[in-house]
């Protein structure tokens, strides 16, 4: 029987509440030195890949820039091109959306990253229909929600054609491109959306999925669903790697790890953040309310949710009044409510040995092929994983002890 080994990536989000910037040793997350340090540590830990997130508009709260979370990130492909010069093996994956990019231009830039990195480029394909983000681009919110995966599929198909050296000449309403690329490439394709449309896109085109299903049972169900979808496209389970996003909290004892995980979660849900969370729903200034007191007694503003945080999924854009009524019945303080409705998910907590045992079970049963890890502490999370968890995984025979290949495709056992 083949021993399946874990593939690890690090997802550098660059925005959002995960990163605890309030810690005294927080590494300035937009400084190039922090990136260089991080990728070098990951390469020492034999990671498959370093991922950069994307968000094409700075998050806002009621019309002003959201001020409580880390913000600010580089252009992903530009940054990874620089990091390619600082590393030799690690894969470099850019999250790029198919709505606010020109297909030829993006295909060319990705092929160029693949070229300068010697075959280490990846593309994490995301879609959006967010018109608020579109206000930074030439055509605004041009793409209807229900057509976003149609555009994505046409876009990816076009990119693959171009990378293969073909001339394209397509004039549709979703994609209009004529030309051929002067530079070849074969970036690894990741897909991140968990909707049926996203899963189908993954089954059709992706080399790997960056899923949200880390619970063992959900991960197995997800793998089974993808296997069925893959068969419809004449593909096998082995041709698609499943890497859920996950967080890890390690401690020398189980108790220490659990306490640290609680502390991290509470740090991630500060009073001002809890208030800001509710302000999205109330769409009113709630700054006068005590985060440790009851929910605001005033009624929310009319109308649906303010999308300007750029974080609210489609299914949560409607029905806010019902949701608020539900929350009131829970009778929690503002902060406790927010902790309750945004539970810690996708987080593995324990000693390095415990987490390694758990991951070994996941990968031996093919529930997943690895994880894409989101750090909470910079540089602490990355160093902990590399220095403490990786040796335990190696001891269990589920992690490489050296890079055997040079390209990201080789690291990920992809054709």
């Amino acid at each position: 029987m083949t021993t399946h080994r874990l593939h690890l990536g690090l997802f550098f989000t660059g925005v959002g509440p995960q990163l605890l910037w309030s810690q005294p040793d927080f590494a300035e997350h937009t400084h190039i030195d922090t990136f260089v340090q991080t990728v070098r540590t990951l390469e020492r830990g034999l990671f498959d890949a370093f991922f950069l997130g994307e968000g094409l508009r700075v998050r806002e709260n009621r019309g002003r820039v959201h001020d409580l979370d880390v913000a600010g990130r580089p252009d992903a492909i530009t940054q990874l091109s620089a990091l390619a010069a600082e590393t030799e093996r690690i894969g470099l994956v850019a999250t790029q959306n198919t709505t606010y990019n020109f297909p030829f231009d993006l295909a060319r830039r990705l092929a160029s990253l693949d070229h300068v990195s010697g075959g280490r480029a990846g593309w994490n394909i995301v879609t959006t229909d967010n018109a608020w983000t579109g206000e930074n681009f030439r055509y605004g919110g041009w793409l209807p929600h229900e057509r976003r995966y149609e555009r994505a599929a046409a876009f990816v198909e076009m990119a693959r054609n171009l990378w293969g050296g073909n001339r394209v000449d397509t004039h549709g309403d979703l994609v209009d491109v004529a030309g051929s690329l002067g530079v070849a490439g074969n970036p690894v394709l990741f897909q991140a959306g968990d909707s049926p449309g996203g899963r189908d896109l993954a089954a059709r085109f992706a080399d790997a999925v960056f899923s949200a299903n880390t619970d063992y049972d959900k991960a197995q169900a997800y793998a089974a669903d993808l296997t069925t979808r893959l068969e419809a496209y004449g593909r096998t389970r082995d041709s698609l790697k499943i890497l859920p996003g996950a967080q890890v909290v390690l401690g020398d004892t189980a108790k220490e790890a659990a306490e640290k995980a609680d502390w991290i979660q509470r740090e991630q849900t500060t009073g001002p953040r809890a208030i800001a969370f509710l302000e999205q729903y109330w769409n009113k200034d709630l700054s006068g309310y005590d985060p440790d007191g009851p929910l605001p007694d005033i009624e929310p503003a009319e109308g649906e949710l303010d999308p300007s945080r750029g974080t609210i999924s489609v299914e949560h854009r409607t029905g806010k009044l019902e949701r608020i009524a539900e929350w009131r019945r829970l009778d929690l303080s503002i902060r406790e409510l927010v902790l309750h409705v945004t539970p810690r998910h996708n987080t593995f907590v324990g000693t390095p040995g415990q987490v390694a045992d758990e991951w070994a079970r996941y990968v031996r049963t093919r529930a997943v092929d690895g994880f894409n890890l989101v750090p909470q502490l910079l540089p602490g999370s990355v160093e902990d994983i590399v220095d403490k968890l990786v040796p335990e995984l190696q001891e269990r025979g589920v992690y490489r002890t050296e890079y055997e290949g040079r390209t990201l495709r080789e690291h990920m056992d992809l054709a």
Partner: protein, 320 residues
């Protein structure tokens, strides 16, 4: 202060008979050691080379002093992406980023984005709009926007991160940029003098020194660089021309030895602030140029420092 040197590194060379080329890392290592202030990377969507922004950024971590100026084309890109890419280059190089404003407007290039060429006037206006919005976006985060105030739980001061609300003729951008202000404040913007006067460095192309001097005098931009084609070692010219004739020059053309080249630079020193050199054959003329210039690496640390250009005051500073 002696005349600034810039070098174009894309392709085989400016002579149509040139063959070969140099890997970027080699060309830039030679140029950096020889005291060039910056390299430029020509580009077009249909170029056989990788994209210039990617190449420049890759070079950022292989160099310490030299400026890096990819060519990006306003009419063929999203202005927001262009500004973000260049800001990231400046961060990665710690203040050595620049932008050669491209004017690619061919039908084939536009076909890659499903578009059609613009009229000359429309192209100029588009270029002007994209330069304006890029500068605004680079200023959209004030230098001290990140406050990390643990007591109030605020990572940044929202009064110091600004919407730009730019409306141009063919596009609009709300902003702010997703990237904090570049180390140089704004990247060094380089544009041909006949394309835009909104640059920091104007490139002037004229076949004679007199014409060059006249054009340079009319150019109202902080720094003026002359475009110069260079062949060191005149004996090679006949062979190159036999392969493919060089044709009539549109920019200053030099063919001679190192001493004569230094004399040309001395003459130009009184007329322009710098030269952008286009070696006839990169792999032969660049090493010769490096010997001929007789310089050590520039001081930096930023490209603005090297060129004596001040770090721009943020247009949003002090605005609520």
């Amino acid at each position: 202060m002696s005349i600034h040197l810039a070098l174009e590194i894309d392709g085989a060379g400016s002579h149509p008979g040139a063959r070969g080329g140099l890997p970027d890392t080699e060309a830039v290592a030679v140029a950096e050691a020889a005291g060039f202030a910056l390299i430029t990377i020509n580009d077009s969507p249909l170029s056989p080379s990788p994209e210039a922004g990617v190449r420049a950024s890759h070079l950022a971590r292989r160099t310490r002093r030299i400026g890096l100026a990819p060519t990006l084309h306003p009419a063929l890109t999203e202005p927001f992406h262009l500004a973000t890419q260049l800001a990231a280059l400046d961060h990665a190089s710690q203040g050595r980023g620049a932008w050669v404003v491209g004017a690619e407007n061919s039908a084939a290039a536009h076909a890659t984005i499903g578009g059609k060429p613009l009229s000359d006037d429309a192209l100029r206006r588009e270029i002007s709009d994209v330069i304006d919005v890029a500068r605004l976006l680079w200023d959209s985060w004030e230098d001290d926007a990140v406050i990390r105030d643990v007591a109030s739980g605020r990572f940044l001061d929202p009064d110091r991160v600004h919407h730009v609300n730019f409306t141009g003729e063919r596009f609009s951008v709300v902003g702010p940029l997703i990237t904090p202000r570049p180390p140089q404040g704004q990247l060094v913007v380089i544009a041909a003098a006949d394309i835009s006067d909104k640059s920091d460095v104007a490139l002037v192309a004229a076949p004679t020194i007199d014409e060059l001097a006249a054009r340079a005098k009319q150019t109202n931009v902080p720094r003026v660089f002359a475009e110069v084609e260079v062949l060191l070692g005149e004996d090679r010219l006949a062979e190159l021309d036999a392969r493919e004739p060089w044709g009539e020059p549109a920019r200053l053309r030099f063919a001679g030895d190192a001493e004569e080249f230094r004399a040309l630079l001395a003459t130009l020193d009184g007329i322009v602030d710098g030269v952008r050199l286009h070696p006839a054959v990169l792999e032969i003329d660049l090493p010769r140029l490096a010997v001929a210039t007789r310089r050590g690496p520039v001081g930096g640390p930023t490209l603005r420092d090297t060129l004596g250009l001040p770090r721009p005051v943020n247009v949003f500073a002090g605005e609520p």
